[in-house]
C-alpha cells in the first residue's frame, strides 16, 4: 500500500488513513489532552506523511515512521503551547468503558461510580500532564498504545535502555501522584 502511495496513488493513501487514524489520534490525544488539537495534529501528521512519503525508504516499519512524525509534531506543538491546554481535558464516554476499573467501581452505587470515575480520570490526566513531555510520551506509547520498547525507541530515536529508564521513572512519578487511588 505504501508503495502504491509512493507511485502517486492517492486512493491508497486514503486506505492508510483509515488504517492508522484512530491509533494516531489516540497517541496525540493522550499527549496533548485536547480533542480539537489532537484532530488538527493528526491531520497535520497525515499531510506531512503524504508530502514526504517518497523519502520513506522502508528501513523501519511504516507505522514507526508515521508515529515518529506524529510524536515529533505533537512535542513541538506542546513546547509552543505549554500552558494553553493544561486544563482542557475531555470526558470519556462512560458507557464504552469496560476495563478493570469499571468492575472495581461496580460495587458502588451508580451515581457514586460515575463521580469516582470522573475524579479518577481527572486525577490521571493531571498526573500525566505533570510528567515531562518525553516521560509522558513513553507512558502513552507503552502503557496505553501497547508498543514494544524497541518500537518506542525507534519512534523516539533513543536507546531501549533509555526508554526503560524513562518508563520506570514516569511510573514512579505517577504512583506518587495517584497514591491515594492506587493499590
Amino acid at each position: 500500500m505504501v508503495q502504491r502511495v509512493q507511485s502517486g496513488d492517492v486512493a491508497a493513501f486514503d486506505q492508510l488513513i483509515l488504517k492508522y487514524r484512530e491509533r494516531l489520534y489516540s497517541i496525540i490525544y493522550n499527549l496533548c489532552s485536547n480533542r480539537e488539537d489532537a484532530a488538527d495534529l493528526t491531520q497535520e501528521t497525515f499531510i506531512k506523511a503524504f508530502s514526504s512519503i517518497k523519502r520513506f525508504k522502508g528501513k523501519a516499519s511504516f507505522y514507526t515512521w508515521l508515529y515518529r512524525i506524529a510524536v515529533n509534531s505533537t512535542l513541538t506543538y506542546l513546547k509552543r503551547n505549554r500552558m494553553r491546554h493544561f486544563f482542557s481535558f475531555e470526558n470519556i464516554n462512560e458507557e464504552v468503558s469496560s476495563s478493570e476499573i469499571v468492575e472495581a467501581l461496580s460495587v458502588k452505587i451508580k451515581s457514586e461510580k460515575a463521580a469516582l470515575m470522573n475524579e479518577l480520570q481527572e486525577k490521571l490526566n493531571e498526573a500525566l500532564q505533570k510528567l515531562s513531555d518525553k516521560h509522558r510520551t513513553v507512558v502513552v506509547l507503552y502503557e496505553i498504545e501497547g508498543l514494544s520498547h524497541q518500537d518506542i525507541s525507534n519512534v523516539m530515536g533513543c536507546s531501549v535502555g533509555t526508554i526503560r529508564s524513562r518508563l520506570h521513572y514516569a511510573k514512579q512519578q505517577l504512583q506518587a501522584y495517584l497514591k491515594d487511588y492506587l493499590d
Binding site: 492517492v10 490525544y29 493528526t42 499531510i47 470519556i92 476495563s99 490521571l124 502503557e143 496505553i144
Partner: protein, 194 residues
C-alpha cells in the same frame, strides 16, 4: 464524591488506570468531520506547491547546530583569508588617525587632528611597502613654496615617509585629485607624534 473521601474508593493498579485511557474514543460524527477536513487539507497541500527554498529551510531546521557551526567556521575562515591576503585592512578602518603635517626646509611637524574611519593604502599591492603606505589621502597646498600641509591618515602613531615604490621619488599621492607630489625625503625617515 468529594476529592477528600479517598478511603472508601476502591483501589486499582496504575496499569489498569492507564488502560482506561484507551476507552477515550471519539464518536462516528467526529471521524466524519475529521475525514472531510483532512480531505480538504490534503487537496490544498496537493495544489499548493512549496517554494523552492522550502527543502533548504527544512534542512536547516533539522540540522540547526551543524549549519550554525559551519556558518561560523566559514565566516571565521573568510575573515582570516581577507586579513591574511590583504583584501581588506580592518586596522586602517578602525584605527585611522588624521594628522596635519607641515613640511618646510628640514622640519616636519605632525599634529593629530581627529580619528577617521577611512584610510587608503598607497602600495596596496606590495606588502613590504604597506608599512609606508598608511598615509596621505589628501594634500592641501600651502601658500609658501615647499611648505605644504598634509592631511594624513595613519594606522599607528609611528609612521615612515619613504618612497612607496622603488625608483620612485613619490611618497605621497592624492587619490581624490589624481595628482602626484614629489618626495621631500628620499631616505626613509621615521616620525612619531603625540
Amino acid at each position: 464524591m468529594p476529592l477528600g473521601n479517598h478511603n472508601t474508593a476502591p483501589k486499582i493498579s496504575l496499569e489498569s488506570l492507564l488502560l482506561l485511557k484507551r476507552e477515550e474514543k471519539p464518536s462516528k460524527e467526529f471521524w466524519d468531520n475529521f475525514d472531510r477536513d483532512l480531505r480538504q487539507k490534503t487537496l490544498q497541500a496537493l495544489v499548493h506547491q512549496e517554494p523552492w527554498y522550502t527543502c533548504y529551510w527544512h534542512f536547516i531546521r533539522m540540522n540547526l547546530y551543524a549549519v550554525l557551526s559551519l556558518s561560523t567556521a566559514i565566516i571565521f575562515a573568510l575573515g582570516l583569508a581577507i586579513h591574511h591576503f590583504g583584501w581588506f585592512s580592518f586596522g586602517d578602518i578602525n584605527n585611522s588617525i588624521i594628522a596635519e603635517v607641515s613640511i618646510s626646509e628640514n622640519i616636519l611637524e605632525v599634529k593629530p587632528k581627529s580619528i577617521d574611519s577611512t584610510a587608503l593604502s598607497i602600495a596596496k599591492n606590495d606588502p613590504e611597502k604597506q608599512s609606508h603606505a598608511f598615509f596621505v589621502i589628501d594634500i592641501m597646498p600651502h601658500k609658501k613654496t615647499r611648505n605644504e600641509n598634509f592631511r594624513k591618515v595613519m594606522a599607528s602613531q609611528t609612521f615612515s615617509l619613504a618612497p612607496a615604490y622603488d625608483h620612485d621619488l613619490r611618497f605621497v599621492s592624492d587619490p581624490f585629485n589624481n595628482k602626484s607630489h614629489s618626495s621631500f625625503h628620499p631616505t626613509p625617515t621615521n616620525f612619531s607624534y603625540k
